[in-house]
Symmetry: C2
Subunit: 163 residues, 2 copies
Protein backbone atom coordinates (compact mmCIF):
# COMPACT_ATOMS: atom_id res chain seq x y z
CA UNK A 1 0.00 0.00 0.00
CA UNK A 2 1.53 3.26 -1.11
CA UNK A 3 0.90 5.30 2.01
CA UNK A 4 2.24 2.70 4.41
CA UNK A 5 5.31 3.81 6.25
CA UNK A 6 5.44 7.05 4.31
CA UNK A 7 4.18 10.45 5.29
CA UNK A 8 0.51 11.21 4.73
CA UNK A 9 -0.48 12.64 1.39
CA UNK A 10 -1.79 16.05 2.47
CA UNK A 11 -3.79 16.34 -0.73
CA UNK A 12 -5.82 13.18 -0.05
CA UNK A 13 -9.32 13.44 1.38
CA UNK A 14 -8.48 10.13 3.03
CA UNK A 15 -5.61 7.71 2.44
CA UNK A 16 -6.11 3.95 1.97
CA UNK A 17 -4.42 3.33 5.31
CA UNK A 18 -6.68 5.82 7.11
CA UNK A 19 -9.79 4.28 5.56
CA UNK A 20 -8.67 0.82 6.64
CA UNK A 21 -7.95 2.00 10.19
CA UNK A 22 -11.35 3.69 10.27
CA UNK A 23 -13.04 0.41 9.33
CA UNK A 24 -10.96 -1.63 11.80
CA UNK A 25 -11.78 0.81 14.60
CA UNK A 26 -15.47 0.27 13.86
CA UNK A 27 -14.91 -3.50 13.83
CA UNK A 28 -13.23 -3.17 17.21
CA UNK A 29 -16.26 -1.43 18.65
CA UNK A 30 -18.60 -4.07 17.18
CA UNK A 31 -16.47 -6.76 18.81
CA UNK A 32 -16.95 -5.03 22.18
CA UNK A 33 -20.72 -5.12 21.63
CA UNK A 34 -20.68 -8.85 20.80
CA UNK A 35 -18.57 -9.49 23.91
CA UNK A 36 -20.89 -7.54 26.23
CA UNK A 37 -24.06 -9.30 24.97
CA UNK A 38 -25.41 -12.12 27.20
CA UNK A 39 -25.05 -15.31 25.11
CA UNK A 40 -28.70 -16.38 25.16
CA UNK A 41 -29.96 -12.90 24.20
CA UNK A 42 -27.29 -12.57 21.53
CA UNK A 43 -28.86 -15.49 19.67
CA UNK A 44 -32.50 -15.06 20.68
CA UNK A 45 -33.44 -11.54 21.76
CA UNK A 46 -35.42 -9.56 19.23
CA UNK A 47 -37.57 -6.42 19.01
CA UNK A 48 -40.35 -5.89 16.48
CA UNK A 49 -39.65 -9.10 14.58
CA UNK A 50 -36.09 -8.09 13.76
CA UNK A 51 -33.21 -10.56 13.69
CA UNK A 52 -31.28 -11.36 16.87
CA UNK A 53 -27.94 -9.53 16.91
CA UNK A 54 -26.01 -12.79 16.28
CA UNK A 55 -27.71 -13.05 12.87
CA UNK A 56 -26.70 -9.47 12.05
CA UNK A 57 -23.13 -10.31 13.09
CA UNK A 58 -23.21 -13.34 10.77
CA UNK A 59 -24.17 -10.97 7.96
CA UNK A 60 -21.23 -8.70 8.84
CA UNK A 61 -18.89 -11.71 8.86
CA UNK A 62 -20.31 -12.91 5.53
CA UNK A 63 -19.56 -9.51 4.03
CA UNK A 64 -16.20 -8.39 5.46
CA UNK A 65 -13.68 -11.07 4.51
CA UNK A 66 -15.33 -12.52 1.37
CA UNK A 67 -16.24 -9.01 0.23
CA UNK A 68 -12.74 -7.63 0.62
CA UNK A 69 -11.28 -10.81 -0.90
CA UNK A 70 -13.43 -10.29 -3.99
CA UNK A 71 -12.37 -6.63 -4.17
CA UNK A 72 -8.69 -7.47 -3.71
CA UNK A 73 -8.46 -10.49 -6.00
CA UNK A 74 -11.28 -9.97 -8.52
CA UNK A 75 -12.40 -13.55 -7.88
CA UNK A 76 -16.19 -13.89 -7.44
CA UNK A 77 -17.43 -14.61 -3.92
CA UNK A 78 -20.78 -15.88 -2.66
CA UNK A 79 -22.73 -14.02 0.00
CA UNK A 80 -23.37 -16.75 2.55
CA UNK A 81 -24.88 -15.56 5.83
CA UNK A 82 -25.87 -19.03 7.03
CA UNK A 83 -22.78 -19.56 9.13
CA UNK A 84 -22.78 -22.55 11.44
CA UNK A 85 -22.10 -20.58 14.58
CA UNK A 86 -24.02 -21.26 17.79
CA UNK A 87 -21.97 -19.76 20.58
CA UNK A 88 -20.66 -16.33 21.43
CA UNK A 89 -17.13 -17.74 21.61
CA UNK A 90 -17.35 -19.09 18.05
CA UNK A 91 -18.70 -15.74 16.87
CA UNK A 92 -15.83 -13.87 18.52
CA UNK A 93 -13.29 -16.36 17.11
CA UNK A 94 -14.66 -15.82 13.59
CA UNK A 95 -14.56 -12.07 14.19
CA UNK A 96 -10.90 -12.26 15.23
CA UNK A 97 -9.98 -14.55 12.34
CA UNK A 98 -11.47 -11.98 9.97
CA UNK A 99 -9.50 -9.20 11.71
CA UNK A 100 -6.30 -11.16 11.07
CA UNK A 101 -7.09 -11.73 7.39
CA UNK A 102 -8.26 -8.27 6.36
CA UNK A 103 -4.87 -6.45 6.51
CA UNK A 104 -3.27 -8.83 3.99
CA UNK A 105 -6.21 -8.38 1.62
CA UNK A 106 -6.19 -4.60 2.04
CA UNK A 107 -2.47 -4.53 1.14
CA UNK A 108 -3.40 -5.75 -2.34
CA UNK A 109 -5.42 -2.60 -3.03
CA UNK A 110 -3.44 0.09 -4.78
CA UNK A 111 -4.40 3.74 -4.29
CA UNK A 112 -5.87 3.91 -7.79
CA UNK A 113 -8.17 0.89 -7.23
CA UNK A 114 -10.92 2.70 -5.33
CA UNK A 115 -12.63 4.44 -8.26
CA UNK A 116 -12.91 1.21 -10.25
CA UNK A 117 -16.28 -0.44 -10.84
CA UNK A 118 -17.26 -3.72 -9.22
CA UNK A 119 -20.29 -6.02 -9.05
CA UNK A 120 -19.97 -7.11 -5.43
CA UNK A 121 -21.11 -10.67 -4.70
CA UNK A 122 -22.20 -10.85 -8.34
CA UNK A 123 -25.13 -8.52 -7.69
CA UNK A 124 -24.31 -5.14 -6.10
CA UNK A 125 -23.11 -2.55 -8.59
CA UNK A 126 -20.79 0.20 -7.47
CA UNK A 127 -17.23 1.36 -7.25
CA UNK A 128 -14.76 -0.16 -4.86
CA UNK A 129 -14.96 2.92 -2.62
CA UNK A 130 -18.78 2.92 -2.59
CA UNK A 131 -18.73 -0.82 -1.80
CA UNK A 132 -16.29 -0.47 1.09
CA UNK A 133 -18.27 2.47 2.49
CA UNK A 134 -21.38 0.27 2.25
CA UNK A 135 -19.65 -2.46 4.28
CA UNK A 136 -18.74 0.07 6.98
CA UNK A 137 -22.10 1.87 6.98
CA UNK A 138 -24.00 -1.42 7.14
CA UNK A 139 -21.99 -2.43 10.21
CA UNK A 140 -22.67 0.91 11.94
CA UNK A 141 -26.39 0.58 11.06
CA UNK A 142 -26.79 -2.88 12.60
CA UNK A 143 -24.57 -2.10 15.58
CA UNK A 144 -26.78 0.94 16.23
CA UNK A 145 -29.71 -1.48 16.37
CA UNK A 146 -27.82 -3.68 18.84
CA UNK A 147 -27.51 -0.66 21.15
CA UNK A 148 -31.31 -0.58 21.44
CA UNK A 149 -31.37 -4.32 22.16
CA UNK A 150 -28.77 -3.86 24.90
CA UNK A 151 -30.59 -0.88 26.45
CA UNK A 152 -33.86 -2.85 26.37
CA UNK A 153 -32.00 -5.61 28.26
CA UNK A 154 -30.78 -3.07 30.84
CA UNK A 155 -27.17 -3.25 29.64
CA UNK A 156 -25.07 -0.13 28.96
CA UNK A 157 -23.42 -0.38 25.52
CA UNK A 158 -19.84 0.80 25.01
CA UNK A 159 -19.60 4.51 24.09
CA UNK A 160 -20.04 4.99 20.33
CA UNK A 161 -16.99 7.25 20.12
CA UNK A 162 -14.70 4.82 21.97
CA UNK A 163 -12.85 2.95 19.21
CA UNK B 1 -14.25 22.59 -5.10
CA UNK B 2 -11.64 21.16 -7.42
CA UNK B 3 -13.47 18.06 -8.58
CA UNK B 4 -16.70 19.83 -9.40
CA UNK B 5 -17.58 19.68 -13.04
CA UNK B 6 -14.24 18.09 -13.87
CA UNK B 7 -13.44 14.44 -14.42
CA UNK B 8 -12.87 12.25 -11.38
CA UNK B 9 -9.34 11.96 -10.04
CA UNK B 10 -8.74 8.23 -10.58
CA UNK B 11 -5.98 8.28 -7.97
CA UNK B 12 -8.28 9.49 -5.19
CA UNK B 13 -9.68 7.01 -2.67
CA UNK B 14 -12.67 9.37 -2.61
CA UNK B 15 -13.09 12.88 -3.98
CA UNK B 16 -14.55 15.76 -1.92
CA UNK B 17 -17.62 15.75 -4.19
CA UNK B 18 -18.17 11.99 -3.73
CA UNK B 19 -17.83 12.30 0.05
CA UNK B 20 -20.34 15.12 0.10
CA UNK B 21 -22.80 13.18 -2.06
CA UNK B 22 -22.34 10.17 0.21
CA UNK B 23 -23.26 12.27 3.25
CA UNK B 24 -26.20 13.90 1.51
CA UNK B 25 -27.53 10.51 0.41
CA UNK B 26 -27.46 9.42 4.05
CA UNK B 27 -29.23 12.66 5.04
CA UNK B 28 -31.87 11.90 2.43
CA UNK B 29 -32.52 8.49 3.96
CA UNK B 30 -32.72 9.99 7.46
CA UNK B 31 -35.27 12.49 6.16
CA UNK B 32 -37.41 9.58 4.91
CA UNK B 33 -37.29 8.04 8.38
CA UNK B 34 -38.35 11.30 10.05
CA UNK B 35 -41.21 11.61 7.54
CA UNK B 36 -42.47 8.05 8.09
CA UNK B 37 -42.51 8.39 11.92
CA UNK B 38 -45.90 9.04 13.53
CA UNK B 39 -45.62 12.51 15.09
CA UNK B 40 -46.50 11.57 18.66
CA UNK B 41 -44.07 8.60 18.68
CA UNK B 42 -41.37 10.69 17.03
CA UNK B 43 -41.32 12.95 20.10
CA UNK B 44 -42.27 10.44 22.80
CA UNK B 45 -41.58 6.81 21.91
CA UNK B 46 -38.57 5.28 23.63
CA UNK B 47 -37.02 1.88 24.34
CA UNK B 48 -34.79 1.09 27.32
CA UNK B 49 -34.65 4.67 28.54
CA UNK B 50 -33.16 5.95 25.29
CA UNK B 51 -34.07 9.31 23.78
CA UNK B 52 -37.05 9.63 21.44
CA UNK B 53 -35.92 9.81 17.81
CA UNK B 54 -36.80 13.54 17.60
CA UNK B 55 -34.11 14.25 20.21
CA UNK B 56 -31.56 12.28 18.18
CA UNK B 57 -32.57 14.26 15.10
CA UNK B 58 -32.06 17.49 17.04
CA UNK B 59 -28.53 16.27 17.80
CA UNK B 60 -27.94 15.59 14.09
CA UNK B 61 -29.22 19.07 13.23
CA UNK B 62 -27.05 20.63 15.94
CA UNK B 63 -24.02 18.93 14.40
CA UNK B 64 -24.44 19.12 10.61
CA UNK B 65 -24.71 22.79 9.75
CA UNK B 66 -22.84 24.34 12.70
CA UNK B 67 -20.20 21.61 12.46
CA UNK B 68 -19.57 22.10 8.76
CA UNK B 69 -19.69 25.88 9.19
CA UNK B 70 -16.93 25.65 11.80
CA UNK B 71 -14.89 23.38 9.50
CA UNK B 72 -15.40 25.65 6.49
CA UNK B 73 -14.86 29.00 8.14
CA UNK B 74 -12.67 28.22 11.15
CA UNK B 75 -15.06 30.22 13.32
CA UNK B 76 -15.92 28.49 16.63
CA UNK B 77 -19.43 27.06 16.92
CA UNK B 78 -21.42 25.93 19.95
CA UNK B 79 -22.99 22.47 20.12
CA UNK B 80 -26.58 23.28 20.98
CA UNK B 81 -28.98 20.34 20.84
CA UNK B 82 -31.78 22.10 22.69
CA UNK B 83 -33.61 23.19 19.59
CA UNK B 84 -37.06 24.65 20.06
CA UNK B 85 -38.80 22.20 17.77
CA UNK B 86 -42.08 20.55 18.74
CA UNK B 87 -43.61 19.28 15.51
CA UNK B 88 -42.57 16.91 12.77
CA UNK B 89 -43.10 19.65 10.21
CA UNK B 90 -40.68 21.98 11.99
CA UNK B 91 -38.13 19.18 12.21
CA UNK B 92 -38.43 18.48 8.48
CA UNK B 93 -38.21 22.19 7.69
CA UNK B 94 -35.01 22.49 9.72
CA UNK B 95 -33.68 19.37 8.00
CA UNK B 96 -34.38 20.90 4.57
CA UNK B 97 -32.91 24.25 5.54
CA UNK B 98 -29.71 22.45 6.54
CA UNK B 99 -29.71 20.57 3.21
CA UNK B 100 -29.85 23.91 1.39
CA UNK B 101 -27.00 25.40 3.42
CA UNK B 102 -24.51 22.53 3.37
CA UNK B 103 -23.47 22.70 -0.32
CA UNK B 104 -22.31 26.33 -0.03
CA UNK B 105 -20.27 25.48 3.06
CA UNK B 106 -18.79 22.36 1.44
CA UNK B 107 -17.67 24.47 -1.54
CA UNK B 108 -15.32 26.34 0.79
CA UNK B 109 -13.34 23.16 1.52
CA UNK B 110 -10.34 22.70 -0.73
CA UNK B 111 -9.08 19.19 -1.46
CA UNK B 112 -6.08 19.71 0.81
CA UNK B 113 -8.22 20.74 3.80
CA UNK B 114 -9.22 17.25 4.92
CA UNK B 115 -5.98 16.21 6.63
CA UNK B 116 -5.85 19.38 8.73
CA UNK B 117 -6.41 19.26 12.48
CA UNK B 118 -9.49 20.71 14.13
CA UNK B 119 -11.01 20.98 17.61
CA UNK B 120 -14.67 20.55 16.68
CA UNK B 121 -17.12 22.51 18.83
CA UNK B 122 -14.15 23.52 20.95
CA UNK B 123 -13.80 20.03 22.40
CA UNK B 124 -13.47 17.18 19.88
CA UNK B 125 -9.94 16.71 18.57
CA UNK B 126 -9.38 15.25 15.14
CA UNK B 127 -8.72 15.98 11.52
CA UNK B 128 -11.34 17.44 9.24
CA UNK B 129 -11.80 14.05 7.54
CA UNK B 130 -12.15 12.19 10.85
CA UNK B 131 -14.64 14.82 12.04
CA UNK B 132 -16.79 14.60 8.90
CA UNK B 133 -16.73 10.80 9.06
CA UNK B 134 -17.86 11.09 12.68
CA UNK B 135 -20.80 13.29 11.65
CA UNK B 136 -21.86 10.67 9.05
CA UNK B 137 -21.26 7.64 11.27
CA UNK B 138 -23.14 9.23 14.16
CA UNK B 139 -26.14 9.79 11.88
CA UNK B 140 -26.08 6.16 10.65
CA UNK B 141 -25.79 4.97 14.26
CA UNK B 142 -28.83 6.87 15.51
CA UNK B 143 -30.87 6.18 12.39
CA UNK B 144 -30.14 2.47 12.91
CA UNK B 145 -31.67 2.88 16.36
CA UNK B 146 -34.73 4.54 14.85
CA UNK B 147 -35.25 1.45 12.68
CA UNK B 148 -35.78 -0.60 15.87
CA UNK B 149 -38.22 2.02 17.18
CA UNK B 150 -40.17 1.85 13.91
CA UNK B 151 -40.23 -1.97 13.86
CA UNK B 152 -41.38 -1.99 17.49
CA UNK B 153 -44.21 0.33 16.38
CA UNK B 154 -45.13 -2.05 13.56
CA UNK B 155 -43.86 0.31 10.84
CA UNK B 156 -41.58 -0.85 8.01
CA UNK B 157 -38.58 1.50 7.70
CA UNK B 158 -37.27 2.52 4.27
CA UNK B 159 -34.64 0.10 2.90
CA UNK B 160 -31.17 0.98 4.22
CA UNK B 161 -29.63 0.78 0.75
CA UNK B 162 -32.23 3.09 -0.84
CA UNK B 163 -30.57 6.50 -0.90
Amino acid sequence: METKGSSINQEAVITPQQLFEHWQAHRGLTRKVIAIFPEDELFNFSIGGMRPFADMVKELLAIAEPGLKEIATGKKEELNENLMVNTKLQLLEMWDKTSETLPGLWEKLSTDAFQKSILAFGQYEGTIISTILYFIDNEIHHRGQSYVYLRALGITPPPFWER
